[in-house]
């Protein structure tokens, strides 16, 4: 963890800025790769970027002797081939370099930290350095010369000069720790490429200059054995090769079939249509009434009948006709028989529609049934027509009829006794359930088309909350209601036709499967 020098907050080791105060955290402590200069956390011994061996903590690269750069060497005598003018130009450049270096040293002196300033050469030592600079190449200063009594000193120490040389050639333990992995002959590599010392205490010993060349040797790459392709790979390669070498084939020509062949190909479809049409039309033409005396009743339809039959005289009922002409064949018989029952019970009706077509369809049915029961518009029933607003529409109606503006039709404190919903689409049933039945707790029944039944059934089966007291489904539901109420109507009259049509569908399923299995069997026998 890195501690922020400003606020003292602890940050992750790789953080470059403090997470608390945003101050830069500087170079993170750790080891820097000598090759790629990638910083690493303490304890990492191998560079994660280039694989070079890292210098452990406590061993700074600055300990490795480096040759200092001498500014005066830049202004040496001109080399062979150089013109005097060029030498003068170089000399002029060297003077500029010396001025720059002097300027840099001045700047360094101003910006140099105290600990580095202490390492600066003391004024009294400048003479000695000047003497050393005057030495010829190969000469050593006096302090580096081998003392005359060096052999005696070794004898007193109990070692010979040869042993001392061998001992000096040994790699110390800390250096041995730096040996790259996989490199066993570090000494040979260093001795082979680095010149031996010619003077001083290290005379005759090679490989003493710098450890970077050794550390920079990356680990030997492990040769990868060439993999053996699997048999599946050979198969895929052979398949690809065969596909590539296969000559192009001409396109398949589709012959134009004659009109008779086309008619024969579509004869099955036409036969299917004909079977269904005959199944629907023939019972109607024969005037069959078998279902009128054998029509069973479902629990959902019975529940709807009971909810309406239990209404008190003069109860206010809201009837919503939310369907379009597409499902009018099953919804209009439903609406007709239910309206007859409601008017027979003397209920006051409030008619609305969430679809524009439903408003027109309901108006026609309402007027027909009202004429039968002597209902007067405005007194016994009202038609609000098409109500816009989607979710807001049903809720707006229920909110509005509770206001004093409706006092001519709704009595004081009177509320809806029942909501009757005729839905040709699930969304309309859902709107009434979510926006009115649930929030206001009003009793509700629904007559739905056959396609809506699966979406309405969960609400009807929810016995705990009684969301739907009754559910009437499709033309069959209308026929059941007519059977219960004892008013035979168009729904019951069409049940024979519907029964035969259902039987025809079952036969079509049977014939289709027989043909399918016959073709399969013939194909197997042919194979």
């Amino acid at each position: 963890m890195i501690e922020c020098p400003e606020c003292g907050a602890t940050n992750k080791p790789e953080s470059r800025f403090c997470g608390e105060c945003g101050q830069p955290l500087g170079v993170p402590k750790g080891v820097t790769c000598p090759m790629c200069e990638t910083p690493h956390a303490p304890g990492i011994t191998v560079c994660t970027e280039c694989g070079a061996r890292l210098i452990p903590e406590g061993v700074s690269p600055s300990e490795v002797p480096l040759e200092p750069r001498v500014p005066g060497e830049v202004a040496d005598a001109p080399e062979e081939g150089e013109t005097p003018g060029a030498a003068e130009a170089d000399r002029g450049e060297s003077e500029e370099i010396e001025e720059d270096v002097a300027g840099e040293e001045q700047v360094k002196g101003e910006t140099m930290p105290p600990w580095l300033r202490k390492l600066e050469v003391a004024p009294g030592e400048e003479v000695a350095e000047q003497d050393e600079d005057d030495l010829e190449r190969g000469e050593l200063p006096d302090w580096l010369e081998v003392p005359p009594d060096f052999e005696e000193m070794l004898g007193e120490a109990g070692v010979t000069s040869e042993e001392e040389e061998v001992a000096r050639a040994d790699v110390p333990a800390w250096l041995e720790a730096l040996r790259p992995e996989g490199v066993e002959d570090v000494a040979e590599i260093s001795g082979g490429h680095s010149p031996a010392e010619v003077t001083g205490l290290l005379k005759g010993i090679g490989g003493t200059l710098g450890i970077e060349p050794i550390l920079a040797i990356p680990p030997r790459a492990v040769p990868v054995e060439p993999g053996t392709p699997s048999s599946a790979a050979y198969e895929r390669a052979d398949l690809l090769r065969s596909v590539i070498r296969e000559p192009a084939r001409p396109g398949i020509e589709v012959s134009d079939r004659s009109g008779v062949e086309k008619l024969a190909a579509s004869s099955v479809r036409w036969m299917t249509f004909l079977v269904l049409a005959v199944a629907v039309v023939v019972p109607i033409l024969l005037g069959s009434d078998w279902s009128e005396s054998n029509m069973p009743t479902g629990a959902g339809t019975q529940g709807m009948y009971d909810a309406i039959d239990g209404l008190p005289q003069g109860a206010m009922v809201l009837v919503s006709f939310d369907y379009d002409p597409g499902v009018a064949g099953e919804m209009v018989p439903q609406a007709r028989v239910v309206l007859s029952h409601l008017m027979g019970r003397g209920a006051r009706l409030l008619s609305v529609s969430l679809t524009p077509e439903g408003a027109r369809l309901s108006r026609r049915v309402l007027e027909e049934v009202a004429d039968d029961y002597g209902y007067r518009y405005g007194e016994d029933y009202l038609s609000l027509g098409y109500v816009v607003g989607v979710e807001a529409g049903p809720r707006s109606i229920v909110e509005r009829i509770r206001t004093p503006d409706w006092s001519d039709f709704v009595g004081a404190g009177e509320d809806l006794a029942l909501i009757v919903e005729f839905a040709g689409d699930p969304q309309y049933l859902r709107l009434w359930l979510e926006q009115v039945q649930g929030p206001y707790g009003l009793p509700m029944v629904a007559g739905v088309s056959a396609t809506v039944d699966p979406f309405a059934r969960p609400y009807y089966l929810n016995r705990a909350q009684r969301q739907l007291l009754g559910l009437m489904t499709g033309l069959v539901g209308a026929a059941e209601y007519e059977r219960i109420s004892g008013e035979a109507g168009p729904a019951l009259a069409s049940m024979d036709s519907q029964s035969v049509a259902h039987i025809a569908l079952i036969l079509l399923i049977l014939v289709g499967n027989l043909a399918y299995f016959g073709n399969s069997l013939r194909g197997r026998l042919g194979a």
Partner: protein
């Protein structure tokens, strides 16, 4: 409106009622806006002579005709004649084709090719015959089996769909209210 849904307080209810009425008015104007948009789109289609542009002429002509016919009210003779003799027969005839498509599907599609297809075909046959009076003469178990199929497996599946849609609606509503989503007007000047 959400607060009005959860709390039964007079002032909150009044405020909720105001918003409900406002929503109805806004939706009514949205219908008018939709009509204008349809007219503009098809006028542009005619001016550019795009494919099927002559159908756009018929659409605009009928729209203008119905609007003119309905100026005197929805119970006008011209409006009721258009509904009774054009729109209703067309919609009823289009939906009636479904019966013939179902018949074709019964012959071609309901093939017993797998175990799942067996269950599908058996359920279809039981519901078809149990839904009509003739099913009771096959046996009392047929209507009972039909009711079980409709009340248990089918209702379970639909109930799962309804609950899933409800949860998705809640999540969408929360995201819209929190500003994570903008269902309408995305990409416009206001979407920044």
């Amino acid at each position: 409106m959400l607060v009005d849904f959860f709390f039964d307080e007079v002032h909150i209810n009044a405020l909720g009622g105001f918003f409900v009425e406002s929503a109805v008015i806004v939706v009514a104007f949205a219908l008018l806006l939709g009509l204008l948009n349809v007219l503009v789109v098809h006028m542009r289609r005619i001016s550019r002579r795009e494919g099927g542009w002559f159908y756009s002429i018929a659409l605009i002509a009928m729209a203008v005709l119905v609007v003119i016919a309905g100026i005197s009210g929805p119970d006008a003779w011209a409006v009721t004649w258009i509904f009774d003799h054009i729109q209703f027969p067309l919609q009823a005839a289009t939906f009636s084709l479904l019966a013939f498509f179902v018949a074709t599907a019964a012959y071609r599609g309901l093939r017993i090719r797998s175990l799942e297809a067996v269950a599908f075909v058996v359920a279809a046959v039981v519901v078809l015959i149990g839904q009509v009076p003739v099913g009771r003469y096959v046996g009392d178990f047929v209507p009972a089996l039909k009711d079980w199929i409709l009340n248990v497996p089918a209702t379970a599946g639909v109930r799962g769909i309804i609950i899933g849609v409800a949860l998705g609606t809640i999540a969408t509503g929360v995201r819209v209210l929190m500003g994570f989503d903008r269902p309408y007007g995305r990409g416009g000047d206001g979407a920044k």
